[in-house]
């Protein structure tokens, strides 16, 4: 292309007005809505107050929305003892109540798969709909699956609006106000750990957990994706996730990967540990192990 071709000639006036328009646009964009992780603290406070007001109106209850930040020197990880799990699904429903998942249409962040002992961990043969009178069933074992909080998370890379990202403490979170419901992340997740609100979420009166976190269990609108956040509203305050505390056989373990004295480090260093679909290089922070 010739530099002095007539099509590319831009007058000084044209250039100046274009530059001014671009600058104005840039400034205006900066004033507009932002994702929760890039909001300045005072604007985040305002946004949270607005959320609390809206939820109070919607549910007729005082709802606390926390913006507790990641703790320094903490990277969360989870471990689940496959040799202990009896498939009772207590974790599934504790999670639903703690994290305000929709009851109808039903959303479950945890899915428990029943597998045959002879076949090993094989999802093509697994059954999530098992319903015997009592568990564990003879000759079977159980593998609960939820968000694996991957270090190399495929879901966050495909989001066209940047509405999902990994927090510094390793939790993959969703900004429900920026999610446009395209569900690319659900297609990208190899674990089926993300769930879409196909209908308007319903929570029975009085069943709302009013202790919420802005990146976690605050009430969601229809048309957005949600997922396990390691109970961010609890764990950032030092508590164990709800599924850990409810497990009747103590199969679920949680802690700080960077603390050499944590349970999680003991498990990784002393037990037979596996991650699901290791070959995909997603680097989960959710480990499965055999304590015996």
């Amino acid at each position: 292309m010739k530099p002095d071709s007539p099509g590319t000639k831009v007058s000084r006036r044209q250039f100046a007005s274009c530059a001014a328009a671009a600058a104005a646009g840039f400034v205006l964009t900066g004033c507009g809505p932002r994702r929760l992780h890039e909001m300045p603290p005072d604007r985040l406070k305002d946004a949270i107050r607005e959320m609390e007001r809206r939820y109070a109106q919607q549910f007729g209850q005082t709802v606390a929305v926390s913006d507790a930040q990641p703790l320094p020197g903490v990277e969360f990880a989870y471990a689940l003892d496959i040799s202990r799990c009896i498939g009772c699904r207590r974790c599934v429903y504790a999670c639903v109540e703690e994290n305000n998942q929709s009851r109808d249409p039903q959303v479950h962040w945890i899915r428990v798969f029943e597998m045959e002992k002879g076949k090993g961990v094989d999802f093509s043969e697994a059954d999530p709909y098992y319903a015997p009178p009592e568990v564990p069933e003879e000759g079977h074992f159980y593998v609960p699956v939820q968000c694996q909080q991957c270090r190399n998370a495929p879901c966050t890379k495909v989001c066209p609006t940047g509405a999902t990202w990994t927090e510094p403490d390793g939790i993959v979170v969703v900004d429900y106000d920026w999610c446009i419901g395209c569900r690319y992340c659900m297609a990208a997740c190899p674990y089926g750990a993300r769930h879409f609100n196909w209908g308007k979420p319903t929570i029975p009166t009085g069943k709302l957990n009013t202790k919420t976190h802005v990146l976690g269990n605050r009430p969601r609108p229809q048309g957005v994706v949600e997922k396990c956040t390691f109970c961010i509203q609890r764990t950032r305050n030092g508590r164990y996730p709800a599924c850990v505390e409810v497990c009747p056989v103590g199969a679920r373990k949680f802690g700080n990967l960077l603390d050499p004295d944590s349970e999680i480090r003991y498990i990784i260093e002393h037990k037979r540990v596996l991650v699901l679909k290791e070959e995909l290089n997603t680097l989960p922070k959710f480990f499965y192990f055999y304590a015996t």
């Binding site: 009772c88 699904r89 999530p128 709909y129 319903a131 009592e134 030092g238 164990y240 850990v244 349970e263």
Partner: protein, 188 residues
């Protein structure tokens, strides 16, 4: 012809590298080993005030044992109980064991180890750990059994007997919570 010569040169090179590395290693190790002792191997944690254990799960009205047994003569003969404690069915290596292998006849409100040393009900895990040593080790590390509370602070452990009936330790099967709803076809 060239092979042996390369091998010889490589050998000298390796020797030089190794010598330098050894000298460097010795130099870097000497100050570290002086002032600082190597970190102690992880042992059984001392009683930690950040850990709480609820009291042992006694059957109502059964403890202290001495309230009945203090006035009773001791019968050390291994036998099936027919008058009292008939509700206790032992399925825990019952061929080799009976009441007084764990319960103490002289100190009725205590248990005893295989050595005869008494141990309180609140520390019954020491007794269990005589056979189930690897479980005791994992329990101390927080890997066996349920912990509740704070992942970075005060937490509650349970005793072995809170989850396992010591007389019938195998977990009983329980009813599962409802299966997830299968997605319905569109328009239905």
């Amino acid at each position: 012809m060239t092979r042996p010569r390369i091998g010889w040169q490589a050998g000298v090179l390796c020797f030089l590298v190794a010598a330098v590395a050894l000298a460097g290693g010795a130099r870097s190790q000497s100050p570290a080993s002086g002032p600082q002792a190597p970190p102690a191997a992880p042992t059984a944690p001392a009683p930690d005030d950040r850990v709480e254990v609820p009291p042992p799960p006694f059957t109502d009205g059964i403890f202290p044992c001495s309230s009945c047994h203090a006035s009773m003569p001791v019968n050390r003969t291994r036998r099936e109980l027919t008058e009292f404690h008939t509700d206790i069915v032992l399925t825990h290596d019952e061929q080799h064991r009976w009441c007084l292998d764990c319960h103490d006849a002289d100190h009725r409100d205590q248990l005893h180890l295989a050595s005869g040393a008494p141990v309180s009900f609140a520390e019954s895990y020491v007794l269990c750990g005589q056979c189930h040593g690897e479980k005791l080790r994992d329990w101390r590390a927080g890997v066996h059994g349920r912990r509740t509370g704070q992942w970075n602070g005060h937490k509650t452990y349970l005793l072995c007997a809170h989850c396992h009936n010591p007389h019938q330790p195998r977990f009983k099967a329980i009813q599962p919570m409802p299966a997830p709803v299968r997605p319905s076809r569109s328009g239905q």
